[in-house]
Amino acid sequence: MKPFDLLRPSSIAKAISAKQSQVQFLAGGTNLVDLMKKHIATPDALLDVTPILSSQITGSTETLLIGAAVKNSSAAMDKLVLSSYPLIAKAILAGASPQIRNMASTAGNLLQRTRCPYFYDTTLPCNKRNPGEGCGMREGESRMGAIIGHSEHCVAVHPSDLCIALAALDAEVLYTIAGEKKPMVIPFKDFHRLPGDAPEKDNNLPQNALITGVRIPKNPFSKNYAYVKLRDRDSYAFALVSVAAALHLQGDRIVEARLASGGVAHKPWRWYQAENFLKGKIPSAEVFAEAAALAADETNPLVGNAFKKLMLKGAIEVALQNCLTA
């Protein structure tokens, strides 16, 4: 690691005022410390923000608020999360390992960088790590790459599981920034971005802003939900394809459906067409297969990952099916 200062700001305001491009916030460290060891992140200083950020989960009748410093494992065990937002717990438990979930923060999870092997190996070209260098994966080993929303400059995928559930549940990201008194809000769907011609940017968080929490609106998805994650081994691996699914059923019909995926794009991906299709339908294997096909047809796989289209279709079908037995 490059030598750096470790600073302990005593308030959020002080943390924000100290933030610069070469100064980074440190929370759980599970991704940042790793990137620093790899010399991919080379900050001059770290601001230890864990003590000043909320590690509380609070709920009202309308929303759930997860503090930025809440550990992944705390969120997955929280009674309110489990009773009213269980998809979140399910997604968290599909990710990483118990040790990492004990360390990783909610905000950090949103900010974790891609696990693309070309990004991680500093001897290989990567536009995300080193803009202008070229994308190694696009014409290379793209098995783990994106199948939708990719650009000629980047085909990396977003690695989080929690974020897929948050995307499905229309969460919002709360942050503060210098000069603003009020907490600022970004809808989750707009938080992460597609690579376009600036893949070095993972998200739309304003520069030097500090995430303070994640808000999830009350929802009718606490009964019929599922998180399906397909990976090369049964645990402790990043997704090839993952699907967060949730159904609001009334009588024999689907009132509302949510479908989001990880492992397919530079950001958590919502399958709006499939969701719309499911609205008002009577659940059946055929209907689920049709919805899954709608989603899969939207994709545009790379030379090396055509299988993901099939896998996505299967995963959506299984996830929707699992919603009925959850």
Partner: protein
């Protein structure tokens, strides 16, 4: 955008360099950053006070030192193992304030004021912890390198209550890789202690 200024009084600890950095105008600073390839920053040390296996340590530590390297290289507590150094194997698992974490991704500075327990602190004198005893009896290892991490994780796994079935144990122990594949014995050890 105007560069925010850093003031010394905001911080418990602050270095001259980052402080100085903040007062340089943005234009100069960007030139400075592009030239930084020629500039080799000096290492920084921070005071660190931490309890490890119920013993209080007061140290002056390089900010870059991970908890794992602190244990292994500075304190000669080599029971916690380095299997990957990147949070991908679990061999370095220790407890911080009673919870299992990876010491390789934990900067030593992050355990300031905390209680760390390593494999060396698990036994009660000569009396092995029941999990250590179970691992010996059930042969929950071969080469033994992942074993301290497995045991620290297993103790937490029982405490967390993730021992309802073989499948549950396996899932909640999957953050600890064992290349010898001693998973039969590891699961059996945990079942024995959970009972």
């Amino acid at each position: 955008m105007e560069q925010p200024k850093i003031s010394r009084r905001f911080f418990v600890s602050i270095s001259a360099m980052a402080g100085a950095f903040a007062f340089i105008p943005a234009s100069v600073k960007s030139a400075y950053i592009s030239a930084k390839n020629l500039f080799i920053p000096q290492k920084r040390a921070l005071p660190l006070s931490v309890s490890i296996n119920k013993k209080l340590y007061k140290l002056q530590q390089d900010t870059r030192t991970t908890l794992l390297d602190l244990l292994r290289e500075e304190l000669q507590l080599t029971g916690s193992k380095k299997g990957c150094d990147h949070g991908q194997c679990g061999a370095c698992t220790v407890h911080v304030d009673g919870e299992r974490v990876l010491s390789c991704l934990t900067l030593a500075a992050m355990v300031q004021g905390k209680e760390v327990t390593t494999i060396e602190g698990l036994a009660n004198g000569d009396e092995l912890h029941p999990m250590q005893k179970a691992f010996v009896e059930c042969d929950g290892f071969q080469c033994g390198y992942c074993t301290p991490g497995q045991i620290m994780s297993a103790v937490a796994c029982v405490k967390e209550g993730h021992t309802g079935s073989v499948e549950e144990i396996k899932e909640f122990m999957s953050g600890n890789l064992c290349r010898c594949g001693a998973y039969n014995g590891i699961v059996k050890s945990i079942q024995q202690v959970a009972q």
